[in-house]
């Protein structure tokens, strides 16, 4: 019965693992609901500020913000990469890093250098090992991040853009489509890619109070911040749903393995009993 005992211990340990994954699934499910609410409630701001900026791009201010105009020569680009702090969420981070690295390689082939800002511990450890220039990082932002946590890291990149050290700035994060599907997204933040319809362009301008430069600068900074924030909350919603799905399949798999092991265990036990009976019978026959 030595084999049976081993199988029993194995079943026990897999059942314990299943308990843990089940608990993690439930925790992720409840966090997911909150994360999705947060994502939805901060969407109006991001949408509205994009609208205002689209209007602004159509207006004809005497002052044109540097973020609105493309630079012809690209020597160095920046990436802000939003990842999760914790693992056990399936291929969420890996898929995103792959997409980001593929994009960076394209720049690399053109002889363009790449700067990286990592948000979240996973990005930090991945891009720390990767051959690229890590300029800033922010991690341990928790499940309900606030805008203030991001200001510093975003400012590093914007300062670099202002100083001409980088010529493009991209944001990489996971896009929440639904609970089952998340998609890595690489999005150009600066210069702001506004598809201004030439037909719709009106010859009007805002009244600026106080002067245009002051307001447009403030608006731009807020816009970038809100984009990064939106990316971050969206990524958290993705993390939670990806974790929930991953943990659910882990629990299911554990259940299947337990079932298989149980069959093996039953067979082994039955074989042992049969053997014993036949020994007794043959022993009795011999007497």
């Amino acid at each position: 019965m030595a084999g049976a005992k081993e199988i029993r211990t194995k079943i026990k340990s897999i059942q314990n693992t299943a308990k843990i994954t089940k608990a993690m699934e439930m925790v992720a499910a409840s966090k997911m609901r909150k994360a999705q609410d947060r994502m939805r409630s901060s969407r109006p701001y991001a949408d509205k500020i994009r609208n205002v900026l689209a209007h602004l791009a159509q207006a004809h201010p005497e002052y044109r913000h540097p973020y609105l105009s493309d630079r012809e020569e690209v020597k160095r680009v920046g990436y802000i990469i939003v990842s999760t702090d914790r693992g056990l969420c399936g291929g969420l981070n890996t898929n995103m890093f792959k997409a980001a690295v593929r994009d960076m390689m394209e720049w690399d082939d053109q002889g363009v250098e790449v700067d990286v800002v990592a948000i979240g511990r996973k990005a930090l450890s991945f891009f720390g090992r990767f051959k690229c220039n890590l300029v800033a990082e922010a991690d341990h932002l928790g499940d309900s991040p606030s805008m203030e946590d991001l200001i510093g890291t975003v400012k590093v990149m914007l300062d670099a853009y202002d100083a001409g050290r980088i010529d493009r700035l991209f944001l990489v994060h996971n896009l929440f489509i639904n609970t089952m599907t998340q998609q890595p997204r690489i999005h150009q933040m600066v210069p702001v890619g506004g598809d201004v319809d030439k037909e719709l362009e009106h010859h009007w301008d805002y009244i600026y109070e106080p002067e245009a430069k002051h307001i447009i600068d403030g608006l731009m900074f807020r816009f970038i911040e809100s984009q990064v924030y939106q990316g971050l909350v969206e990524n958290i919603a993705c993390e939670m749903s990806a974790r929930m799905v991953a943990m659910k399949s882990a629990t299911d798999n554990a259940g299947e393995i337990v079932k298989e092991l149980q069959t093996i265990y039953n067979k082994a036990r039955q074989a042992a009993i049969t053997q014993e009976i036949s020994e007794i019978v043959s022993g009795a026959a011999a007497v």
């Binding site: 109006p44 701001y45 509205k48 609208n51 205002v52 209007h55 307001i215």
Partner: protein
Amino acid sequence: MSMTMHIDIVSAETEIYSGTVTECYAPAEMGEVGIHPRHAPLITKLKPGEVRIVLQDGDHQSFFVNGGILEIQPHVVTILSDSAIRAADIDEAAAKQAKERAEAAMADKRSDLDYARAKAELIEAIAKIETIKKLRKRQ
């Protein structure tokens, strides 16, 4: 056609109000502005204070904004506030405490950064208290 406009008040964290109004008052940086439909396009910064809207049925509603940006299009007004709450939800005691805290922080200024932050907090707390006072008077 009645003269109305659409207003959206959003803060970074959530949407506060969205609907049709006939008038709107907001604390712009250069002084309070009153907005009626078909106002000229304007963009300005807001300072902490009260945003008041008049609904179609003549009802008033107040919101407290902690600075932000105001965009006016002839029939659409957008208020992008850093944080906004319905004026009725302001906790007066908390606002007074915040004011005292900020004043104390300003009194022992250790560095310029602390001083600037304390000043911003003080302005915000005072604006909150003002909003509550206005709201009381109207009731």
